[in-house]
């Protein structure tokens, strides 16, 4: 397979995952705005931070308002990582690697792009927002479904999956990091009322409210949430889960090509860190420090994969 093609596959699925995560974030923000209007502005600010979009947003706006943030994250022309821009990039990469995709996968991404383009052709009204966000999430899931159902389990599949999980691990870690202070043991001191709205943001941001309740019951607290999203290997958006997949796909590549590369060692290091960590050790080290370290390792791994498999000349 061409190095360029491997890169195109990885980025196509990275962008799709990013679009889906952005839609989920907007959904969360909108829910807070409707149910806890007193917190609205600060929540939109933290959602911008989670999307790593605060600086770019500020460059074009004087204040943070729900309307403007939603438009920015979904479709603003000046925002190079809006949902629309992600879909453009996903489809562009799809066209680039058209020969490595089955017809079903290509048509799914092309149709996703058409549907989202139509949905985001003009500013989205409050009334239409839920339907538009659903469209984005469903279209992304549909592409993933065609991948599962029609693609050979070979190196092409591995690169596509690596894109999904590198992006997802990044998004979950970022979401936690922006909210890390509400998860610190000191934030819920003895007798203080736990701030459920903040937790809701985190859990909704990964579509896991009910999964969490099922796993931990109603009475559990901050440590359980952090543990759930970092260490629970059953939770499909946790760091642990993402890295079990990344490790697996890299292992397949090692086997397919009969060659172990630097990226394999890096991934093994990260898997080791997640395997050995307990929630206590993470809080001892500092949750913020742990997440920052994770984010930089995740980014470095993505760069190493790019080098090892010759994405560019």
């Amino acid at each position: 397979m061409l190095g360029k093609t491997a890169g195109g596959l990885l980025w196509m699925f990275r962008y799709l995952e990013r679009a889906e995560n952005l839609a989920r974030l907007v959904e969360t923000g909108q829910r807070i705005a409707l149910t806890r209007p007193d917190r609205e502005d600060s929540e939109w600010a933290s959602i911008l931070a989670t999307a790593a979009a605060r600086d770019a947003y500020d460059a074009h706006h004087d204040e943070v308002s729900g309307d403007a943030v939603i438009d920015w994250l979904l479709r603003a022309k000046e925002n190079p990582t809006s949902v629309m821009a992600c879909l453009d990039a996903a489809r562009m990469n799809g066209r680039l690697v058209r020969t490595a995709l089955t017809r079903e996968v290509w048509e799914a991404v092309n149709e996703a792009w058409m549907a989202v383009r139509d949905a985001l052709a003009r500013k989205v009204s409050t009334r239409d927002l839920p339907a538009v966000l659903t469209t984005i999430r469903q279209r992304s899931a549909f592409v993933r479904g065609t991948l599962h159902g029609t693609m050979m389990r070979n190196d092409q599949y591995d690169f596509a999956r690596l894109g999904t999980f590198l992006e997802r691990a990044d998004a979950t870690a970022r979401l936690l990091d922006v909210k890390y202070y509400v998860l610190l043991p000191s934030a819920a001191g003895v007798g203080s009322r736990l701030d459920n709205a903040q937790w809701e943001v985190i859990l909704r941001g990964v579509s896991a409210e009910s999964a969490f309740r099922l796993a931990h019951g109603r009475s559990s607290g901050a440590a359980e949430i952090a543990s759930f999203l970092i260490l629970d290997g059953r939770m499909p958006r946790s760091l642990q889960f993402c890295y079990s997949k990344i490790g697996g796909n890299l292992e397949w590549l090692e086997r397919t090509y009969g060659l172990r590369q630097p990226c394999h060692d890096m991934a093994e290091d990260i898997c080791g860190i997640l395997r050995r960590a307990t929630i206590e050790s993470i809080f001892d080290e500092g949750l913020h420090e742990f997440l920052q370290d994770f984010l930089s390792r995740n980014a470095a791994l993505a760069g190493q994969i790019e080098t090892d498999y010759r994405f560019a000349a």
């Binding site: 066209r95 058209r98 020969t99 290509w106 149709e111 000349a313």
Partner: protein, 471 residues
């Protein structure tokens, strides 16, 4: 009197169309309208779109597809394919000759300056024999029809003919939408084309190839108007689609950068023009090609399809000599006729053209895509006057032809069937094993009533083209 391919002169349905016509009469027009819209959706979903040059705001466009097939009988096709084969054989012999001994010039059949002053003639190819002596691996012959047995060759596309993906996708769309039509008619299949293309290219592997030949398609990139076709063909053949920056010279071969390192390519089906192929040997500013590929080519390290320098054979000035060229190399009379052509570089011809400008079609010698041409009968006085000036300023830049009464074929218009002018581009593969012509081709149709311009850039559409099995 325009010849309609479905309704003969007396209004009766011609034989190849009879089964179709019966089917059509029994269909509900509303249902067909819905099918027509469905076809549009299918093409959009598949992403068969093209980019329009020179308009930064234009989004991707679809070439309109008309659901009424164009139907050719087995008998009509057998004569056409005989003529096409003869012509393509002559084209290859001609290309070999003009890059070697130039017998045709020595014999006086072709003036030396037709070659010497031809911008598409590549002096770098002098003395070069491509693997298998195949020059035009892929050819598209543009044909027009004026009567039941009157076909003319309008143009030979010997560089990088495009449109074959439409031939294949149009058929797939028809099979998907109207399966029953293919039970009523025995239509020769076109779907083997990608496999034939792959085999035909592999059969032209260079001397340096020692194993099973590795084929790749070279595209200028995602922004090229024909990118869809490039990726489609690579996909259908199961080969890599590469760009210049994926390639480099490694150990005297052209190799592509893969996830496992560099891998040599044996046959490169390039969809990049000669000029851009190699910045070291041709245009130094090209970023689309591969530095040094031409040297590797001459040393037998790679096959380039079509061979560099084939453009000289589809030049419109050379076209006017095609009857002589066919006869010179095959020893036979041409089966297919040329459209009579006046070369404006010749004073007598120029005088005739200027006197009859309002009745002629005038084309640029090196133009393509319907740009820069004059259709005399359809032009206004002002347009004629402006064109006359251009023609007088650079007569050798133009040729002129009579306005042919192109045949029509019905399209499915709002009020039912309505005749429109069509042309036909069959696709031909050449390899040391022989010449292979896919039964069918791309039918382009001028969707505007009365219009003779079928180019997609000028409002043309396409149709599925059926060649029926022998009765």
């Amino acid at each position: 009197m325009t010849f309609d391919e479905m309704k003969g002169a007396g209004g009766e349905v011609r034989l190849p169309y009879q089964a179709f016509s019966n089917w059509f009469d029994s269909e509900d027009p509303k249902g067909l309208q819905a099918k027509s819209r469905e076809a549009d959706q299918l093409f959009r979903r598949m992403g068969i779109t093209f980019n329009v040059y020179g308009d930064p705001d234009a989004t991707e466009r679809l070439i309109p597809f008309d659901i009424i097939p164009r139907i050719i009988s087995a008998r009509e096709w057998s004569r056409l394919s005989r003529g096409i084969e003869q012509r393509v054989r002559a084209l290859n012999a001609f290309l070999h000759d003009i890059y070697h001994r130039q017998e045709i010039i020595r014999s006086g059949r072709l003036p030396a300056e037709m070659i010497a002053r031809n911008a598409a003639y590549l002096s770098q190819m002098i003395g070069v024999t491509p693997p298998g002596d195949v020059w035009t691996h892929i050819v598209g012959i543009d044909l027009v029809r004026t009567g039941p047995d009157e076909f003319y060759v309008l143009e030979d596309n010997a560089r990088t003919p495009s449109g074959v993906s439409y031939m294949l996708e149009n058929r797939e769309t028809m099979l998907h939408m109207f399966p029953e039509l293919f039970q009523l008619n025995r239509v020769q299949r076109v779907s083997r084309y990608p496999q034939n293309l792959h085999e035909s290219l592999a059969a032209c592997a260079p001397p340096a190839c020692t194993d099973s030949p590795v084929v790749a398609v070279l595209t200028p990139g995602i922004h090229n108007s024909a990118y869809y076709e490039h990726s489609f063909l690579a996909d259908q053949m199961g080969v890599e689609l590469v760009e210049g920056h994926d390639l480099r010279v490694v150990d005297g071969r052209i190799a592509m950068r893969t996830t496992r390192g560099y891998q040599a390519i044996d046959v490169l089906y390039r969809r990049v023009d000669d000029d851009f192929l190699d910045p070291l040997n041709f245009r130094p500013d090209s970023v689309l090609g591969v530095p040094g590929i031409f040297d590797v080519y001459r040393a037998g390290g790679i096959t380039i399809a079509n061979a560099p320098g084939t453009g000289v054979a589809d030049d419109k000035a050379i076209y006017s000599y095609m009857p002589e060229i066919v006869e010179f190399y095959t020893g036979e009379k041409p089966v297919l006729e040329n459209v009579p052509t006046w070369r404006c570089s010749e004073p007598d011809a120029l005088a005739h053209v200027l006197d009859n400008l309002d009745e002629l079609v005038v084309k640029e010698v090196h133009g393509s895509g319907g740009y820069g041409m004059l259709i005399g009968p359809a032009a206004s006085k002002k347009e004629l006057k402006a064109f006359r000036k251009k023609l007088e300023a650079r007569p050798s830049n133009y040729i002129a032809q009579p306005t042919l009464s192109l045949s029509t074929c019905p399209i499915f218009a709002k009020k039912g069937l309505s005749p429109r002018h069509v042309d036909l581009r069959p696709f031909v593969l050449v390899s040391p094993n022989g010449i292979d012509i896919t039964p069918g081709g791309l039918t382009r149709v001028a969707l505007k009533k009365g219009s003779l311009v079928v180019n997609s850039s000028q409002g043309g559409g396409t149709k599925d083209t059926w060649v029926l099995e022998e009765e």
